[in-house]
Amino acid sequence: MTHPDFLWRNPDPKPAYDVVIVGGGGHGLATAYYLAKNHGLTNVAVLERGWLAGGNMARNTTIIRSNYLWDESAAIYEHSLKLWEGLSDELDYDLQFSQRGVLNLAHNLGDVREGRRRVNANRLNGVDAEWLDADEVKKFCPIINVSDRARYPVMGATLQRRGGIAKHDHVAWALARQADAYGVDLIQGCEVTGFEITGGRVTAVETSRGRIAAGKVALAAAGHTSVLAERAGIRLPLQSHPLQALVSELLEPVLDCVVMSNAVHVYVSQAHKGELVMGAGIDAYNSYGQRGGVHVIEAQMAAALELFPIFSRARVLRTWAGIVDVSPDASPIIGPTPVDGLYINAGWGTGGFKATPGSGWVYAHTLAHERPHPLAEPFALDRFTTGALIDEHGAAAVAH
């Protein structure tokens, strides 16, 4: 893999920008890129407290898919997937985007019913989807244990062949590089500590590197969005949780697709470099600290070995945690806030990476036109007042 020789400048902040994006993760960088590319807005700064893309962008398990149940979700994630399909060329960077197929396993009759329902909805929405029975799962991914003696046997799976993985760092750097080339200032080590709000309108951000005036301010801070919003006097329906992931040591190729099991919280793929990349379920408690409990990892390994007994001697090399912001309906919040000029893009929970280009696209549009992009419209903050939720928690297990 050859990287470009130059990625970004390290500029000092200017006194004022048309748009200040708070958060230099994947979504913030994608927003900056599309603001410049699609809307000609380049007097833009991305303010990052730490290092670019060092939050959830650096910590996720890089799974990309668009097979969501509801029309609104399928539309925005499919838009994103279509962008992924051209993104390496567009950004002139090898993103190691690999459409190797994503399996979502079903372990009980309720899972089967919900899986079929989602496949049918996906197909009618133009999203590729297939239902596989257990034998077909075994054919597609021979190392999965489909024995009916497993504690929770595999009863089938949904398959999205266009789904897959990409190299998260490359995505961030590619977006950063292009945004930088358009003249966007990427400012690292710059923490936003407050907002200057005059007459109900945001006029500047206060930062660890001084005041920066802003025509518009766009939050893109994932797990810390609620902290920032509180500094602007806004209380958001978000709960932040640690989400852990891990990698194994480098292994020769052994798994050539993505396998997800929501029922037992196992998400696994093998990175190009060779490590097995595995995600867990969220840690139950609320936290802004990027640390998780080891019991979550232990439970994840127990579940993973039921699916992949051959990994019993593989070893965990490194574990880590990110902070995910989860909304009441597990769908994102995109659009204006009660403060004029202050916009929010948050609540992506455990699934933000796959949305990176799509989110940036619609958020940039929303910022540029000062009204929600049609794909973002259903994800407005006021849905928690109207009740028009887009509940992607999905059905709980059958409760009879």
């Binding site: 019913r113 040591e249 020769e252 052994v254 127990a302 019993s312 001697r313 059958v398 009879h400």
Partner: protein, 1035 residues
């Protein structure tokens, strides 16, 4: 000891690591590098090894320096990546353990031993963990004399007042001083979870290399490692050596190598002056390159104009305190200019580094620091601890040398050997604009390999600081993440494998179902009979037969899994009014009512029937899957929102075994098993003898037929089931239950609902009280979107083709294309209707509308109908009249305890050290409110009373809710600590506790010093029995 490497037979010595044995056999090239394919040899002697990665047996990738040699070991070389053996069976049996202590000491070197001694002698409970087979740390690798004798004599003479775990690597340091350690045991690894009041980190230091050209050749080795091979294993890593001494430890290595018979040609010391030595010292000089033979193996070392013919280059690049655990704990490191290394800075937890871990490299100063750390951790200093004498020289300041510039045409200079990252790669990264070490790590992959940067981290920082002109302290380190060394998946899973991977919950009737050949369905953790095939029937045939019996005769189902919550208190009715959408405070005593519970969002959360047993006493049933969630939900509202209400909840799910008897002839069966309930009216309940034992009969129907739910205490459940079947009832499973209820248009939570459905959407507006001032979800029902008229509603569907079964999950469309109007939630063949039918949630449709149901490549034309398919006028509710009063059931009402089937296996697994049995039945009650003056206190105002005592009013009979297992013997404690996370030490364990054992909650009671009673929910008894048997076998 015989072993093979790449098929070649070799021999090693007891105590060898595989790496030592390979060197002993003259193996120079152990593998090839991951990207460049360069030959690589053994570089280190411990877990920091970046090069010598091998496959051992079925282990895909291990550092040869960490593998203890055993006879018959088979090792194979790798190219930097492991290989999973698809056919290997892992026969290890890993498990876990939970320990608690006042002081945990990590590391059994001089500082750790001293800390253990100081803390233990002061009376603290101390645990010492060390990753080597023997204690001593660096003393194992040294020729040092302490008080004039070999240092290991001093170690052997220590009487350590502590629990000592060798071969145990502390791998993770989590919040609240929770340390995870992996013990390598013959049977499999044990994952220790250690909760420590204070931690002493005596983790030592790792030697580092320098990025000079050609520094990756086989033959280039860390100096301290070469010394360890010579002193500890008696193995010469080469015959002719050059030592590159950026730190004085290089001189010690030179002396020890010489003593071992290695011909040391020179010491190259970058500092202006060297130390006196028996060999030539090239002060103020650096190693500038290496030469190699055709295979790439080291043949010579260049230092400026000088060239030495050498097959070993021992590099003493300086020391990095092993701050991994310190950093994992949340502590912040700082760069120490004097030591040229990152050292522990500010601590975040109750922890203290000691010895080399904080840069105190001398043995005497480490021991002194260990004493101080141990005393500090224990909070008390004991007299009489003496630091032994030794002849170590004071250490000079090391050279802060990170890289040696390449000259054109020279070999690459590596910063990270495993990931093949060179100085040029790092320069490229900083050239892109990257300033953060985290970015550079990711760009180059440095530090992401097998050793997680143990040998490369400081070099990368040093090179970056040189490239960027910033101090190393400004560059900083990447975050140290757990585990310290890799941990196998199986180790983390422990005993939670296969059938034990998640508890299996079973009912009192389970063995009877198995005996009848039931096919089971997983519902949550429960195993429920799905259907009961006879004589080779497929599911469709079995279900048709079972449905037919229920609609025309009598059939029976195991309904024990439904959640049952006993609700008591003066405000019980008021409480239920607030959590259900309908009224319960007005329910007559003896009456049952169906209810729906919503979340705060107004969506259906659960449903079930609630019966008023007395003025202040209700019994609520929940769905199987939601039982625990509903219980938590009730407690949450009571405790956080309405603490003023007088109400308490007791789970009696496992206390009662429940048999649903349904069908027009159900009365015949009831007349025989519970004659006093035969006149029961619809939606009424009676507390009556059932088979002569106290039972409860509810006349509730989920099928539209005459039906009863008959409850008896767990131990009589199987007898009741057998009696009911003997009386002619046909056993049916969940599939038939689903068909019967769907024919009546009854929704199932989680099937018709998915978290987006209100009671009104289900056509149950009638159950949502308009009169009550408030209930959970009421406000949300008024939200604009929730109050919309065009929401999806529950409807029925009939396919044009009466034989065609529309798939559940099919999407409904007007003409086979989007938009989707809804989806099919339930779909069955119906024996009663003589055709298929479906339920669906759909918007903007009315009976008579024509739709297309799309599933996969199939599209079915369907017609919308009302969702009640069978007996819409409820004419079948009262069934057939009694033909003639049948004789009461004459069979025996046999009692069977929850673990009865395990008696023989318990006996077989028991030993004199640990004996396991089920305690014979004892009555039990849960008591709320006033202290009964007896029994076990479970929580605030909450007790469990057991035994032969007269119950008082308000006590909830839970005799069947739990079964009691007894574990006795000197090793009982050792068994329990493999699954119980709390501290069972007599000094802190209050005698009993509600806690976890394995993956189930238990009440654990110590009835005598070596005898424990384990009260486990009856439905978990089978799971826990299997777990305990496995744990006994592991002793």
């Amino acid at each position: 000891m015989r072993f093979t490497f790449d098929g070649r037979p070799m021999t090693g010595e007891p105590g060898d690591t595989l790496a030592a044995a390979l060197l002993r056999n003259g193996v120079r090239v152990v593998g090839r590098s991951v990207d460049l394919g360069r030959p690589r040899g053994i570089f280190a002697a411990g877990p920091e090894e970046p090069n010598a990665l091998v496959r051992v047996g079925a282990d895909p990738i291990l550092a040869a320096t960490t593998v203890e040699l055993h006879d018959g070991l088979e090792a194979r070389s790798l190219r930097g990546k492991g290989r999973v053996d698809l056919d290997a069976v892992d026969e290890r049996r890993c498990d876990k353990g939970y320990l608690h202590c006042d002081v945990l000491v990590v590391g059994g070197g001089p500082a750790g031993l001293a800390a253990t001694l100081a803390a233990g002698r002061s009376g603290a409970r101390v645990i010492l963990v060390d990753d080597q087979p023997r204690l001593g740390g660096d003393l194992l690798n040294s020729r040092l004399l302490l008080d004039g004798a070999p240092a290991l004599d001093w170690v052997a003479g220590l009487d350590l007042p502590a629990r000592v775990l060798t071969r145990t690597t502390a791998a993770g340091y989590y919040d609240h001083n929770y340390v995870l350690a992996v013990e390598r045991r013959a049977r499999g690894e044990r994952l220790w979870h250690i909760r420590a009041r204070r931690v002493v980190l005596a983790t030592g230091a790792h030697e580092r290399s320098v990025a000079f050209p050609g520094n990756d050749r086989p033959g280039v080795m860390l100096a301290a490692s070469a010394r360890a091979y010579a002193n500890r294993y008696g193995v010469r890593a080469g015959r002719r050596a050059v030592v590159f001494a950026c730190a004085d430890s290089g001189y010690e290595a030179a002396e020890d190598l010489t003593a071992a018979g290695v011909d040391v040609l020179a010491v190259v010391d970058p500092r202006p002056s060297g130390l006196p030595a028996d060999v030539e010292v090239l002060a103020g000089q650096v190693v500038t390159g290496t030469t190699a033979d055709a295979e790439g193996v080291l043949t010579g070392v260049r230092a400026g104009a000088r060239h030495f013919d050498a097959d070993l280059l021992a590099v003493a690049g300086g020391w990095n305190p092993a701050v991994h655990l310190f950093s994992q704990s949340g502590g912040r490191t700082r760069f120490d200019e004097e030591l040229a290394a990152f050292v522990p800075g500010t601590s975040a937890q109750a922890e203290r580094p000691a010895g080399a871990c904080r840069g105190l490299y001398g043995t005497r100063e480490a021991i002194a620091d260990g004493y101080a750390a141990g005393a500090e951790a224990a909070g008390r200093t004991v007299p009489g601890l003496r630091v032994p004498e030794c002849g170590e020289r004071p250490l000079r300041r090391p050279a802060a040398l990170w890289l040696v510039e390449r000259t054109p045409g020279s070999e690459p200079a590596f910063a990270d050997l495993h990931r093949d990252v060179t100085v040029a790669d790092l320069a490229r990264a900083t050239g892109t604009g990257m300033r953060s070490v985290e970015h550079v790590k990711r760009y180059t992959t440095a530090g992401t390999g097998a050793d997680q940067g143990k040998t490369s981290g400081a070099v990368v920082v040093g090179v970056m600081s040189a490239l960027l002109g910033a101090a190393p302290g400004q560059v900083g380190t990447t975050t140290f993440r757990p585990p310290y060394t890799p941990v196998s998946f199986a180790t983390l899973a422990g005993r939670d494998r296969g059938a034990l991977s998640d508890p299996v919950r079973t009912t009192a009737l389970h063995d009877a179902h198995v005996a009848r050949g039931a096919v089971f369905e997983d519902v949550g953790q429960w195993k429920r009979p799905w259907y009961f095939p006879r004589d080779g029937e497929d599911m469709e045939a079995a279900v048709r037969r079972e449905c037919h019996a229920a609609r025309t005769a009598v059939a029976a189902m195991d309904a024990s899994t439904l959640g049952k919550i006993d609700i008591r208190g003066a405000d019980a009715g008021e409480f239920l009014d607030r959590v259900y959408t309908n009224m319960y405070s007005t329910l007559a005593v003896g009456a049952c009512r169906y209810g729906v519970m919503c979340g705060a969002d107004g969506m259906v959360f659960d449903d079930g029937t609630t019966t008023r047993l007395a003025d202040d006493h209700y019994l609520t049933t929940t769905t199987t899957g939601n039982a625990a969630a509903v219980f938590d939900w009730l407690e949450e509202w009571r405790q956080t929102e309405w603490p003023d209400l007088d109400v308490s909840f007791t789970s009696v799910t496992d206390h009662w075994a429940t048999v649903a008897v349904a069908g027009p002839r159900a009365r015949q069966v009831i007349a025989a098993v519970a004659p006093e309930a035969v006149e029961l009216a619809f939606m009424r309940y009676a507390s009556v003898p059932v088979l002569g034992v106290p039972g409860r009969v509810f006349r509730i129907s989920f099928s539209g037929e005459l039906a009863y739910e008959v409850n008896v205490p767990w131990r009589y459940g199987r007898a009741l089931w057998e009696a009911v079947l003997e009386l002619g009832a046909v056993p049916y499973g969940t599939e038939t239950m689903h068909v019967l209820r769907a024919e009546k248009g009854f929704a199932i939570v989680g099937q018709e609902t998915d978290g987006t459905v209100t009671p009104q959407d289900l056509g149950m507006g009638w159950i949502v009280s308009a009169r009550k001032p408030d209930f959970v979800g009421k406000r949300s029902h008024a939200r604009p979107d929730t109050a919309r008229q065009d929401r999806k509603r529950l409807v029925g569907l009939l396919a044009d083709d009466p034989a065609a079964l529309v798939e559940e999950g099919a999407q409904l469309t007007a003409a086979g294309v989007a938009p989707m109007l809804g989806h099919v939630t339930s779909s069955y063949h119906s024996a009663a209707l003589g055709r298929t039918f479906s339920l669906a949630m759909a918007r903007n449709v009315s009976p008579g509308d024509r739709l297309t149901a799309v599933s996969g490549n199939v599209a079915h034309p369907v017609t919308v109908v009302e969702p009640v398919f069978y007996d819409p006028d409820n004419t079948r509710r009262d069934g057939d009249p009694l033909v003639e009063s049948p004789a009461p059931y004459a069979g025996e009402c046999r009692s069977e305890s929850p673990a009865a089937a395990f008696a023989a296996r318990f006996e077989a697994a028991s030993t004199p050290r640990a004996h396991l049995r089920e305690v014979p039945f004892e009555p039990m009650w849960e008591v709320r409110g006033t202290d009964p003056g007896a029994g076990l206190r479970l929580g605030p105002d909450w007790w469990l009373v057991t035994g032969d005592v007269p119950p008082r009013p308000g006590w909830v009979d839970v005799s069947g809710q739990r079964t009691v297992l007894e574990l006795a013997g000197p090793a009982a404690h050792d068994v329990l600590i493999t699954g119980c996370p709390i501290d069972l030490d007599p000094s802190v364990f209050p005698g009993h506790a509600q806690t976890l054992l394995a993956k189930t909650s238990v009440i654990l009671e110590r009835v005598s010093p070596e005898t424990y009673r384990i009260y486990v929910r009856s439905s978990f008894a089978r799971y826990l029995a299997e777990w305990l048997i496995d744990a006994l076998e592991a002793l």
